[in-house]
Symmetry: C2
């Protein structure tokens, strides 16, 4: 029984191959590395029916993940998040078949747990004892907590404006937490200098090749949850874009191994950004292959405040290949959509997830999403991590008071 | 195909039977009502293997739940939360086989989602259009959000000291939210007066019979996750005690239908309370059948600040029947245990869950938990809902600064 069909790493830019049994970071050419599997052998030896009876977490797909030995798996039960029909909200925006993949129902309350589970497990397997990383909050929280479970030391650098609760998660895990009076790009530079100076493993987004493998399980789960079929459109809030790259990679791997038809039309992937930070949208509109640094970025959807993503070219490639698109949403629109989603469906989504619902509404109104299409919205985190997005002015009674109507 | 084997309701005190097809609240004798099923027919017609391939949520046990028609199910994907081995923490307290059932990985971030999903679904099925309920925060948040999805109006009354984030959840759902400068018992009195005056459905804990059916799925899941076996001990943070009553009910039902052996020794159930609010512990120590109002109750584990539970006699019965016990933990102990759990296992548990880990440590030290026993701790919610239980003093750098070692 082969636990993982991992074969090697490769550079999507200069096509150099790398040994996956060694710790690797970026390609010498500066590009992120991607993980390859022996998909031919996997297709012969593993059937999609084999996973049906496994535990409902992302490790049910372990053959398509990089961890070689189950003993190295660091898991808190992440994955197989619900895919929920949201028909009332769908009717409200004219999308009959609207679904929410709810990534708030996961350890640490955000989809970052997927990348952390697989990234930390693989780091442990390769002997990493300490890492540093910049974060907009949720990724750092997830990596800090999974690192604690793995017995790995971590240094997390996040902007002072990152969601407060993610500080607590890092602090309670015992991580070395540092704030920076700036953006995630500033945190990244501080981490880069520390990595250089102290010889640490660099856990930055896409500077290690394995978190993308965790994120890709969102794509595998969507296919399995549709009965090994795919929807027409998947919308994803795009900061670093790892999830979108991962979903695209997953669906192509599933085609290769025949778990979904090799000739099926892949879902059109949509990168949703904020008007206050829309480098991918700008690049897509200009039909470019990569993005430029987005100056003075600012948005309430803090997780997608990423002015320049290292994997921008992979995100754009996924959009072009699937005939998807990129779209920017204002903070006002997303806050309105967050309230609508809660009121109509009882789902308290994060601001990034709300931006994606708003994007679905806009794309349906413009006709880009056609009548009857099956549309999946990724809600990347729990609304409870963002208390400041909701204001509650509430009357206070004394015990002897009565309610009025 | 019978979706639910619901037969009727009965009073556990005076044994009066009630028609389940009508809206029912308390028994005329003042006791909560319990739900009965046609377990004989269920045992003949449904096998435990039948549920294996179903979706990983609590509705996989729909035959043992009260909702008659699948069309009335109001679900956000709740249930089948992970049962996670916590071996490092276990070793630290001398419990070799320690598991955490993590109820933070659920919509609304607390186990209250189970009661809300089943309670609201059944209320919808019975035609309820509006309800009122008192809450210590999490239950109200869950009921408000599920009610929004069901299209039912809700009035939620909670203490001013309840976790702030639960206010936001109620507010964003569109519920009618009111605070009271007092305890949940004061909120309960305000709700009782409003129910009387305006003819509302009373959603108070155990004043409607169905939330307990949602909570009992924790017990069914534990059995299924152990391969239709049971652990030796289950520890549960006890406020209203509905989960403990539900787990006990579930395990007895599973014995009756033969999904676990009819003659197996049921787990010893442990009610964990706070030293600042320990009415069940006091009653148990005095070998009483019910509890007395606990004066001036106060604890940081807000969810278990319930000075007098309506179902106290059912909780105590479950403890006596299973040879379990009741134990109180100080706020200092639980805060220390919360930090230990995060540092050793990467699990950021809620204060109530932390109290239960502390109780396991104490009971192992005293020998009440024996060497080698399989012990399950219920973590009833996500730590991220309680930011004030962790303090993070963090250095702030400027972008040009460097990390030091």
């Amino acid at each position: 029984m082969t636990y993982s069909y991992l074969s090697h790493l490769h550079c999507p830019k200069c096509h150099t191959k790398y040994d996956a049994s060694q710790i690797q970071q970026l390609c010498v050419c500066g590009s992120p590395l991607l993980v390859d599997y022996d998909l031919e052998r996997l297709a012969q030896e593993v059937k999609r029916e084999d996973v049906a009876a496994r535990r409902p977490d992302l490790w049910r797909y372990h053959e398509l993940l990089p961890v070689q030995s189950e003993a190295n798996v660091v898991s808190l039960g992440e994955g197989m998040t619900p895919l929920i029909p949201v028909p009332t909200l769908g009717a409200d925006m004219g999308i009959e078949n609207l679904y929410m993949k709810d990534e708030g129902i996961i350890p640490t309350g955000s989809f970052k747990a997927r990348g952390a589970a697989v990234g930390v497990s693989r780091a442990k397997e390769l002997g990493v004892e300490e890492f540093a990383m910049p974060t907009n909050g949720n990724a750092g929280a997830a990596w800090a907590l999974y690192a604690a479970r793995a017995g790995i030391r971590s240094t997390i650098v996040m902007p002072v404006d990152a969601p407060k609760i993610t500080r607590n998660e890092c602090a309670v895990s015992g991580a070395n937490l540092v704030l920076v009076d700036g953006l995630i790009s500033d945190a990244g530079k501080i981490v880069a200098r520390a990595v250089q100076e102290f010889g640490l493993f660099d856990g930055s987004t896409l500077k290690e090749p394995y978190r993308i493998e965790g994120k890709k399980t969102m794509g595998i789960e969507i296919a399995e949850q549709f009965g090994w079929d795919v929807p027409d459109v998947i919308l994803y809030p795009t900061g670093g874009g790892v999830g979108l790259i991962g979903i695209h990679k997953a669906l192509k791997e599933l085609q290769t191994i025949g778990w979904i038809p090799a000739d099926c039309k892949l879902p059109r992937l949509v990168a949703v950004q904020s008007e206050g930070c829309a480098p991918i949208v700008k690049a897509w509109e200009e039909k470019r292959k990569d993005s430029e640094f987005f100056e003075n970025s600012e948005t309430i959807a803090f997780g997608i405040n990423v002015p320049k993503a290292l994997g921008d070219f992979l995100v754009l490639e996924a959009l072009y290949e699937t005939e998807g698109c990129a779209i920017a949403i204002s903070d006002e629109e997303l806050l309105r959509e967050q309230a609508t989603t809660a009121r109509l469906e009882g789902a308290f989504v994060c601001p990034e997830g709300a931006a994606v619902f708003a994007a679905a509404r806009t794309l349906r109104a413009s006709g880009w999403i056609a009548e009857g299409e099956r549309v999946v919205v990724l809600n990347t985190g729990a609304g409870i991590k963002y208390p400041d997005t909701v204001s509650a002015e509430v009357p206070v009674l004394q015990p002897e008071d009565s309610l009025t109507r």
